[in-house]
């Protein structure tokens, strides 16, 4: 199963290196997130050290979801996902 997962991940990385769509989307989202938190943050109410972990996790999580969605989009285009589902690899 790990070999198949690595195979699919390598294919996704090859696509990402050529298009950079997921990376750019995640980068733009991260910059927007930091900007919004910066202006919304009240320095007198919450210390920077207390706020930073939450901000980081929000950005990591949503940027990751954005990348996942982009990656899955390449599977749905032209039904490439059927090729994966029809292959003799674990679906779990």
């Amino acid at each position: 199963m790990l070999a198949a997962a690595w195979l699919v991940a390598r294919k996704d990385l090859a696509i990402e290196f050529r298009t950079r769509t997921a990376f750019l989307s995640a980068l733009v989202f991260a910059l927007l997130g930091v900007t919004i938190f910066y202006f919304a943050w009240d320095a007198t109410a919450v210390a920077a050290a207390d706020l930073a972990p939450g901000v980081l996790w929000v950005i990591f999580t949503f940027a990751g979801l954005l990348g996942l969605q982009r990656s899955f989009g390449s599977e749905l285009a032209d039904r490439a996902v059927d090729g994966l589902l029809g292959a003799p690899i674990s679906r779990e």
């Binding site: 198949a4 195979l7 294919k11 090859a14 696509i15 050529r18 298009t19 390449s74 285009a77 032209d78 039904r79 490439a80 059927d82 090729g83 994966l84 589902l85 029809g86 292959a87 003799p88 690899i89 674990s90 679906r91």
Partner: protein, 233 residues
């Protein structure tokens, strides 16, 4: 050998496939005809293991398709959609499939499959830059790369020029003579019957005719098919 027994699949209240059974031996080719919405594609997706039947079962060389990887390894599918990654090259697409099927020399197998479909000269072109017909050739190469013992083809001639059609017919003939089972869905009776050992007409999810090719009166068959295809459900 492929055995389908009592296959049923419903979407909502409508049965897209309604009690289809057939057996195909090694070297058989079933040409499946039918009007739009007859259930042909749904049947193919069940045979490929992409869709679970509501009732019934499919066995490929004795292995139930629902049991997973061992059965799917023996099946190849040419679908309406190309199933290609547009950013990857033709070779990378076919090579990726070869790796998924665990072939020992994936790059070599990919190149041989592309040569078979006479598209090896465009092997390093990204799939998105290829014409519809060339994409179809790559898609067929992808489906054949692991030499499946059951090859399911849904309108495989769509978009192909004369050279592509000839390459496909030659490849399918070679596979059939090599003992593979073919299931060919098409609206073109001439193309379908040229390769077939059995022929069936599907309508409203059922086989309304199914017989050996050699027993067919082609002219009467064509007339009946035209009549059936003209009737709207």
């Amino acid at each position: 050998m492929v055995q389908a027994e009592g296959l049923v699949r419903a979407f909502g209240g409508r049965r897209a496939v309604d009690g289809v059974s057939f057996t195909l031996q090694a070297g058989d080719c079933l040409a499946l005809f039918g009007p739009n919405g007859a259930g042909k594609t749904t049947l193919l997706r069940m045979l490929a293991g992409l869709l679970a039947p509501g009732q019934g079962s499919v066995r490929v060389n004795g292995v139930p398709v629902k049991e997973g990887a061992a059965a799917r390894a023996q099946v190849g599918l040419v679908s309406h959609a190309s199933m290609l990654y547009s950013v990857l090259t033709a070779r990378e697409n076919v090579e990726f499939a070869a790796r998924l099927y665990g072939l020992p020399d994936p790059r070599g197998a990919a190149m041989r499959a592309l040569e078979l479909m006479r598209v090896d000269d465009r092997a390093d072109a990204p799939a998105r830059t290829l014409s519809r017909g060339l994409q179809q050739r790559v898609s067929i190469a992808r489906a054949m790369v692991h030499s499946p013992s059951l090859l399911l083809c849904d309108e495989p001639y769509t978009g192909l020029d004369d050279a592509g059609s000839a390459a496909l017919t030659a490849a399918l003939t070679e596979r059939r003579e090599g003992g593979a089972v073919l299931l060919l869905v098409t609206h073109n009776l001439t193309e379908g019957l040229a390769l077939a050992t059995q022929a069936a007409i599907m309508r409203r999810g059922r086989f309304v005719r199914h017989e050996a090719r050699e027993l067919l009166d082609v002219r009467a068959y064509q007339a009946q098919y035209r009549e059936l295809a003209a009737v709207h459900d």
